[in-house]
Amino acid sequence: MNDMQFTDRAVDQKETKIAAQGVNVHYGDAHAIKDVNVEIEDKTVTAFIGPSGCGKSTFLRCLNRMNDTIDICNVTGNILLDNEDIYDKRVDPVQLRAKVGMVFQKPNPFPKTIYDNVAYGPRIHGLAKNKADLDEIVEKALRRGAIWDEVKDRLDKPGTGLSGGQQQRLCIARAVATEPEVLLMDEPCSALDPIATAQVEELIDELRTRYSVVIVTHSMQQAARVSQKTAFFHLGTLVEFGHTGQIFTNPEDPRTESYITGRIG
């Protein structure tokens, strides 16, 4: 084993947060996800890697039922969050999404003030009893988003006026403000420059102490840097899932090895 650099990051076995069993996704006639089984642990960063079109983003969007907003998308199989099926009829997707927050590829602050951006979720879910309470929630979220110092004097300015990296951290703060249990990130750094990327990655590592984070990325270095577990998707199937160190140094499947060494994808 030459994964010495990863050994200190190998995590202890933690309890399972999300368990997917036999998940299939169809877009109309196209079979996008084929029989995927995966267990996502709590307080862990799990990375989904794979070539474009392999279904990793689609699978990510299954985890908070964002695919419901696409008419032709059909999801089958079980996805359990804390042992409850999120596709059960009794589950309200809206409440699920409050528990499973999401950060998108392109920073998408609302055309509102920075404060209102962060306060949006808490207001909708009635998390604050009064204004002072809300102020506290906003400040805490912005601190956790590692952007408080940069914006504390301009909370009443529009969020769209920030730089790309700041916007993305604002979006992370916005997601954190609703106190989710799981944070899904769909290529959160693909629109950012290397400095902003480093800031966001550092932030992801901090978030791990409180949340289960799932990140889709095209950058294998990024997956290796921030994640403890890695899942490799190819053509809609989950090829390999395991500790990041093992996937990157000693993959079991030849397709995984080809991808991480740059021969496919």
Partner: protein
């Protein structure tokens, strides 16, 4: 029809130019099209256009200028004391033209020779009887001065026609020869033709702009005439609209403006909520099947001629409202006397504006990036919360712009208010009374027997210009807001 023949021969020459230009280009490249700088047809087009366009332009300008020039010269020949009481120089000039046309007609039919027509003398011939004999009826005896003027008119027209033909032919042939000589395999025909096409586009664009300026200027000068005859302070600040033909009319815009704004306000009250809700449904909730037939159906409303809406107001909505608020109606009140009222016109105009508001708002709501909706849904917001708190605020400036555009249409709308709003100018807050608007008054001041020198008629131009300024202001404001909004997502 010598002008028609001139144009036809120009077209023939230009078509020949295309063929010859192409041939010359090909032969200069010894039949090998790859040697040419441009495709062979570009050389043809170059010759064809150079032949046609300057000649055609000269023809158009000549045809516009010649009558003005001759009119000017000939009208100077008619002594002022000859113009009878109650007539004017322009009426005399139309006599001159009729006599000249009659003489032309006689010459064409062989009754007179050209020399005889020029030599005819009013002292020896009864011109009126003579022309009546060949079927040209005149309203009055022809005085010697008019006959002389007519003969001069005829002569100048003929000379002008010949000069024009010569000029156009020379231009066409010169263009042909020049461009034909230029045609050579190294000549950049493609670039030249494309430049020509670009000037055509510029010409089209400037024509539209110049027309707008022309309309505004003509209104402006008539308005100045009006203010020479009528007190401007009364027009802008008076409180009564009571035109009469005794010369002491009270012509104030304010009661009309009140009616216009009141009707428009009710129209917007109907159109904005309905249109906006329809747009929200169509862009956010409707699936593709519903959308694909509901949207065109809604837009059919926009294609209905306004006169049909007027009929709808007069025959359906008006009686319906009378049946509700009028005597013997089912509310048991007597609030409404006739079918025409501010409410009738406002409601129907609102219906007309629904597709306008909904279609514009639909586009604007669709322009809100999907990422906004995803972001909100991803935070656990419901669809309705997302629309109310993210999509609509993001689209708001654009929607305000759409509403302002709808308002400027409502203010300028004519047929519906002519038929639905009534004709009484007054200040009243009661929507069930009939009132009148600026556009309705413009129509009524200009229809029927009108004398274009009285303030009662000229006031229409002042009203029109005021209306134009009002709607222009609204449009500029709307465009400014819409543009500001567009910058937000770039």
């Amino acid at each position: 029809m010598p002008t028609l023949w001139l144009v036809v021969s120009l077209l023939v020459l230009s078509a020949a130019g295309f063929v010859f230009g192409r041939q010359r280009a090909m032969s200069s490249a010894e039949g090998n099209a790859k040697e040419l700088h441009s495709l062979p047809s570009y050389y043809g087009h170059n010759v064809a256009f150079t032949t046609l366009i300057p000649a055609l332009g000269a023809l158009a300008i000549w045809l516009l200028v010649q009558p003005m020039f001759i009119e000017n010269r000939v009208s100077g020949m008619i002594p002022a004391e000859l113009v009878p009481e109650g007539s004017s120089l322009s009426l005399m000039m139309s006599d001159v033209r009729r006599v000249a046309d009659g003489l032309d007609f006689a010459v064409d039919n062989g009754v007179l020779s050209g020399a005889e027509a020029s030599a005819m003398d009013a002292a020896n011939t009864d011109v009126r009887a003579f022309l009546a004999g060949i079927g040209v009826a005149l309203g009055a005896e022809v005085s010697p001065e008019i006959l002389v003027a007519a003969q001069t008119y005829r002569q100048m027209s003929n000379t002008g026609g010949i000069l024009m033909t010569v000029l156009v032919a020379v231009l066409a042939l010169a263009g042909f020869a020049w461009s034909y000589m230029q045609t050579h395999k190294d000549f950049r025909a493609r670039n030249v033709v494309e430049k020509g096409v670009m000037s055509l586009l510029i010409f089209a664009a400037s024509l539209a702009i110049l027309t707008t300026i022309g309309i505004v200027l003509s209104m402006f000068f008539e308005t100045i005439n009006f203010f020479k005859l009528h007190n401007a302070a009364d027009f802008f600040f008076g409180s009564t609209w009571a035109p009469n033909f005794r010369g002491d009319s009270e012509l104030s815009i304010l009661p009309l403006l009140w009616g216009t704004l009141y009707v428009s306000f009710i129209a917007l009250l109907v159109a904005v909520p309905v249109g906006l809700f329809a747009a929200v449904y169509l862009s956010e909730y409707a699936n593709n099947t519903v959308r694909s037939f509901a949207k065109p159906l809604l837009e059919i409303l926009a294609g209905i001629p306004t006169i049909v809406y007027g009929l709808f107001a007069l025959l359906t909505v008006g009686p319906l409202l009378v049946g509700t608020f009028g005597k013997g109606g089912f509310l048991g009140v007597e609030w409404m006397a006739g079918a025409t009222s501010v409410l009738t016109a406002g409601v129907v105009m609102g219906i007309m504006l629904i597709p306008f508001v909904s279609s514009l708002s639909d586009d604007i709501i669709n322009a809100v990036p999907q990422a906004m909706r995803d972001g909100s849904l991803g935070l656990g917001a419901t669809k309705s919360e997302t629309i109310r708190q993210v999509v609509l605020p993001a689209a708001l400036p654009g929607i305000v712009g759409a509403v302002l555009l709808a308002a400027s249409r409502a203010i300028g709308e004519t047929m519906i208010v002519v038929m639905g709003a009534g004709a009484i100018a007054k200040f009243s807050g009661n929507p069930l009374e009939s009132m009148t608007t600026i556009t309705t008054r413009i129509v009524s001041q200009l229809t029927g027997d009108t004398d274009f020198a009285s303030p009662e008629t000229l006031v229409a131009f002042a009203l029109g210009l005021s209306l134009f300024v009002l709607t222009l202001g609204l449009n500029v404001l709307a465009l400014y807001i819409v543009r500001k909004y567009r910058e937000q997502y770039e």
